[in-house]
Every structure is written in structure tokens, then in C-alpha cells.
């Protein structure tokens, strides 16, 4: 992105608002292992301490504790960290698979296009959660399975985007000229088509990232995500559901952090689209 585009994007109040929410969350999550946050130690004299309250063991907890007296601040920070890591890894896989398949389908057409379209149609017919349920029923829950499931089902919108744009660009003069000059198909796709698709991918990737961390949290909520004792936002929330009448904060706070992140990514996606495609 060129400088003036970046400046125009940053000049929007909505962009700044979203970044103001997102940047602190991401920075704390990235630095989590360096911070004095213990997410797994139990303290049975400190169970159900409300946010800001002091436990019987004489310690103050900013965001309270859960039913085992674990520090909710630490659990939410580490949970956010796993959400972001899983989301980023899944997004990388989805982008790679989607872009590759979209380029191949759009550039070569024919059988290649038919296969990719068939695959995307199949995936679009299935609710993601059911697909994940089927996969996880078969191979068990683990971080790797989770990332692969999210990544290998999340590429559809990228493939559709890239395919349509590649199809459109294939006949453009600059691509034809490159081919006439002896650039290979691969070179033409990567060097001449891909840069023109990149802005669309950035917008859609930002929106998809929000959807991916929501999907991750949903699976963790159902007990199909990263297995305990690793804290996840969905897992903390599910654990708190039992105690919602006595300790609302266990469920409310991780969900609020998740909501703040997803809203911010959606706003950033929207403002990026506006900045890259003026007039709408």
C-alpha cells in the first residue's frame, strides 16, 4: 500500500477507533509469556473472586477468578493469545490454498476450473461447524487439527475472489505482453496477476480473520478446540456457563474481549475496502 493510501485509511475515525481497541489487545497477547501471568495455578481460597475484589488469600484480582481460583486476567490474556495464533496460522493456510487454487482455476480454466468450482460448491453446501465436527470426531482434537480444519475450510472466499479477478486479467494486454515476451505461466500469474489481486485479498483476509477467530472460539466452546489445560476464550466461556448465576464475569469477560476483537477486524476490513476502492 502506498503512503497516501495508508494516510487516508488512518485518517478515518473508524480506523483509529478499531486500532485503538485492537493494538493493546494484540500487544498484550503477544507479550503474554513475558508478563507475570499464571493461567493455570489454582488457589482454592480464592474461588469466584469478583473483578477488582480481594480473595481470602489476600490477593487482588483485576478481572476476578474462576471456580478453581485461577486468575481470570491471566487466562483471558493467554486465551486471546491462542485465539490469535490459531487464527493467524489458519488464515495463512487459507490464503495460500485459496490464492493458489483461484489462480490456477482462473488462469487455466477448463478442467482445472471445473474441479476448483466443484470443490468450492461442495464446501459452501456444508456448515463449517458440522465439517469440523466430522473431522474432529474422526481424528481427535488438537491444535494442529484445529488449524488445519479452519485453514482447509476457510479458503473458499479467497479462491472465488482470485479466480474471478484472474479470469478478468488473463486477457489484459500487460499479461498477454508478458507471455509474448516469454514469461512462463507461473511467472505471469505470480508477477503480473497476483499484485492486482492483493488489495482484494487484504480486505477479505481482514474480514475472514474475524470469522476464523469466531469459529475457533465456537469449536473451543463445544470442547472441540485446543484441549485443556491450555486456556482458550471459548473454553473459559464454556466453563463459566455452569456458574453464570454466581459468577457472571467468567463467561462475560472472555466473550467481551472476543467481541471487541471481531468488531475491530470487521471495521478495519470495511475501512480498508473504502480506502482501496473509493466512490462506494
Amino acid at each position: 500500500m502506498t503512503g497516501w493510501l495508508l494516510r487516508r485509511w488512518l485518517s478515518r475515525a473508524r480506523t483509529r477507533g478499531a486500532l485503538l481497541v485492537l493494538v493493546p489487545i494484540v500487544v498484550v497477547a503477544v507479550l503474554a509469556p513475558l508478563l507475570p501471568l499464571d493461567a493455570t495455578s489454582q488457589d482454592l481460597r480464592a474461588t469466584f473472586t469478583p473483578p477488582g475484589g480481594e480473595s481470602a488469600s489476600g490477593r487482588t484480582y483485576l478481572l476476578g477468578t474462576d471456580e478453581l481460583g485461577r486468575d481470570l486476567t491471566a487466562r483471558i490474556v493467554h486465551g486471546t493469545r491462542s485465539s490469535l495464533i490459531v487464527g493467524a496460522a489458519a488464515l495463512a493456510i487459507a490464503l495460500l490454498v485459496g490464492t493458489t487454487l483461484g489462480l490456477l482455476a482462473g488462469y487455466f480454466g477448463g478442467l482445472m476450473d471445473a474441479v476448483v468450482t466443484g470443490l468450492t460448491e461442495t464446501l459452501m453446501t456444508l456448515p463449517f461447524i458440522l465439517l469440523a465436527i466430522a473431522v474432529i470426531a474422526a481424528v481427535g482434537a488438537s491444535p494442529t487439527v484445529l488449524v488445519l480444519t479452519l485453514g482447509l475450510t476457510g479458503w473458499v472466499s479467497f479462491a472465488k475472489l482470485v479466480r474471478a479477478k484472474t479470469f478478468e486479467l488473463r486477457g489484459e494486454e500487460f499479461v498477454l505482453a508478458a507471455q509474448a515476451l516469454g514469461v512462463s505461466s507461473f511467472g505471469a500469474m505470480v508477477r503480473h496477476v497476483l499484485p492486482n489481486v492483493a488489495p482484494l485479498l487484504i480486505v477479505d483476509g481482514t474480514l475472514q480473520f474475524g470469522a476464523l477467530i469466531l469459529a475457533e472460539a465456537g469449536l473451543s466452546f463445544l470442547g472441540l478446540g485446543v484441549p485443556p489445560p491450555t486456556p482458550t476464550l471459548g473454553g473459559i466461556l464454556a466453563g463459566g456457563q455452569l456458574y453464570v448465576a454466581v459468577a457472571w464475569w467468567i463467561s462475560a469477560l472472555p466473550g467481551a474481549v472476543l467481541l471487541a476483537m471481531v468488531v475491530s477486524f470487521n471495521v478495519l476490513g470495511d475501512t480498508l475496502r473504502d480506502a482501496l476502492a473509493p466512490g462506494r
Binding site: G118, T125, L126, F128, I133, L222, A252, L258, L259, N266
Partner: protein, 305 residues
């Protein structure tokens, strides 16, 4: 129209075929089912006998053909856990899920579409800002968080509504509201964009110029054409509605298909999982076909052939 339906049926067949391959390979990836089903101290002889009975000695291809030919006849075998035909168990739970999903879609459409039209007509007004912001919030809110928070507020604190179970209309309010919220947010946004696109077009300006009242322009001329992206959105979101009902049913202990499937996964009850995935996929294919057919009805220029 006929050729369209034929093409659609062929495509659906391909999708379902791909699905059998997918589910078959996943069930077979999951390791040896014999070890899961027999007690750990079973003798080698017992293991072998069981294996032959389940037909696990045959080559993979033979097993796939057997699985697929049974699946085509809608025979998914017996639930390991409940000992009943898997498909019957799934179909038995279907009405509850369809009730939940149907009401959620109805509520979301009846609220979301008018709100979207209003925001488009009052573009950049305070109403527009408030409603679109709330819509974004609704669309971004984790469905399980909304569910648990609605239990906290309406069942625990206010004691207005039951938090779980089934039976009266009151039992439906929280699950339907939870499931509708996500769909509602998206619908407001899509309707708003679609209306803004259409209100700019020449024929709408012509109608205004020839003296059609504002209300007539909006509802008779613009709205009908703006409906196409809205219907597309509802169709696309159906898979999220059915996916979301899995989570909603779990939160509210609602005895539908989704909850059945989640418990089937915990119990490693593969026939039940496969039958459930299959039925939902079939349902979505039907819905998507209806969405496509409705385009032709909404816009005579669209040809299905």
C-alpha cells in the same frame, strides 16, 4: 427451467458423492474401529471374527463401494451408542431444529429487511449510524456469548424466561433470539447496501421524475430489485444458521439435531455423525435450489437455463 433443475440435480449428486468420499475417508482415518468397540482384553480370535463381520478385511475400494451404495439407499447403519438406525434418530430430531432455525430466519428477515430499508432511506442520519453500528455488533458477537449472556439477563436476573429445555413458546424465545441476532446484523447491512445501489439507478430516478410518490418509488420500484442480494444473503447464511443452531442447542439444552451430533462426536458414534452431516447437506442443497429459483421469480430478466 427443466434443464436448470436437471443441471442442479447433477451438481447436487456430485456434491453428495464428494461428501461420501469425505466422510468415508474420515471414518477410516480415525483408526481401527474394532479396537474402539471391543473391550481391551478381547482375544485375537474375537478381534478377527469381529473384523470379518464388519467387512474390514476387504480392500479399501470394496469397502467404499459398499458404504456408498448403502448411503445411496439412505442406509447409514445403526448408531453405536443408541442401537437404532442412525437416519431415523436424525430425522426424529429434525423438526425441533427446523422450528428453531425457521423462527430465527423469520424473525431476522422481518426485522432486518425493514431496518435495512430505513437506514438506506435516511442515509447518514442518526438512525442510520445507530442501526448500522448495532448491526455490526450483532454480526460480530459470538453466538455462544450472546446465548450465555441472555440466560444471565433474562433467566437468572429478571426470571422472565426459562433458560433451557423445550415445551412452551417461552422456551423458544431465547434460542430463537440468539440465533436470529447474527443473521439480523448481516441482513440489515446487506439490505442497506442493496437499497443504496438500486436507489441510484436510472429507472428509480425516472419514477421519481414522473411523479410517483416517495413511498411508491421505494417499495414498488426499488425494493423488489434490492431483494435479490437480500435473498442471496439469506441463502448463503443458511449454513451458518444450521451451524449456529448446533451451538445454540448446546447452550439451551434444546433437543435438536445439533445437540444430537455434538453428543455423537463425544461418544465417537460415527454412523450417527455421518447420517447427520448427510441430512444437513441435503437440506442445504434444497434451500440453495429454492434460493436460485426465487431469483427468476423476483427478476424476470434472470434466466435459469
Amino acid at each position: 427451467m427443466t434443464s436448470y433443475l436437471v443441471r442442479r440435480a447433477v451438481l447436487s449428486g456430485v456434491v453428495l458423492f464428494a461428501l461420501t468420499v469425505l466422510t468415508f475417508s474420515m471414518v477410516n482415518l480415525s483408526g481401527d474401529p474394532v479396537r474402539l468397540l471391543l473391550p481391551p482384553d478381547a482375544s485375537q480370535e474375537e478381534v478377527d471374527r469381529f473384523r470379518t463381520r464388519l467387512g474390514l478385511d476387504d480392500p479399501l475400494l470394496v469397502r467404499y463401494v459398499r458404504f456408498a451404495s448403502q448411503a445411496v439407499r439412505l442406509d447409514f447403519g445403526e448408531s453405536i451408542q443408541l442401537r437404532d438406525p442412525a437416519l431415523a434418530l436424525v430425522v426424529e430430531r429434525l423438526p425441533a431444529t427446523l422450528t428453531l432455525a425457521g423462527w430465527a430466519v423469520l424473525v431476522a428477515v422481518l426485522l432486518g429487511v425493514p431496518l435495512g430499508v430505513v437506514t438506506a432511506m435516511r442515509r447518514d442520519s442518526a438512525w442510520d449510524t445507530v442501526i448500522t453500528s448495532l448491526a455490526l455488533l450483532g454480526q460480530s458477537a459470538p453466538i455462544f456469548w450472546v446465548g450465555v449472556m441472555s440466560i444471565l439477563v433474562f433467566a437468572v436476573e429478571l426470571r422472565w424466561l426459562p433458560s433451557s429445555g423445550i415445551g412452551t413458546a417461552a422456551h423458544l424465545v431465547l434460542p430463537v433470539g440468539t440465533l436470529a441476532l447474527f443473521l439480523l446484523g448481516g441482513l440489515v447491512r446487506v439490505t442497506r447496501t442493496a437499497m443504496l445501489d438500486v436507489l441510484d439507478l436510472a429507472y428509480v430516478r425516472t419514477a421519481t421524475a414522473k411523479g410517483v410518490r416517495r413511498g411508491g418509488v421505494v417499495w414498488r420500484h426499488a425494493f423488489r430489485n434490492a431483494l435479490i442480494p437480500v435473498v442471496t444473503q439469506v441463502g448463503l447464511q443458511m449454513r451458518f444458521v444450521l451451524g449456529g443452531s448446533v451451538i445454540t442447542e448446546t447452550i439451551f439444552a434444546y433437543p435438536g439435531l445439533g445437540r444430537l451430533l455434538v453428543t455423537a462426536v463425544y461418544a465417537r458414534d460415527y454412523p450417527l455423525v455421518v447420517a447427520g452431516v448427510f441430512v444437513v447437506a441435503l437440506l442445504l442443497i434444497v434451500v440453495n435450489t429454492l434460493v436460485d429459483v426465487s431469483y427468476a421469480w423476483l427478476n424476470p430478466k434472470v434466466s435459469l437455463a
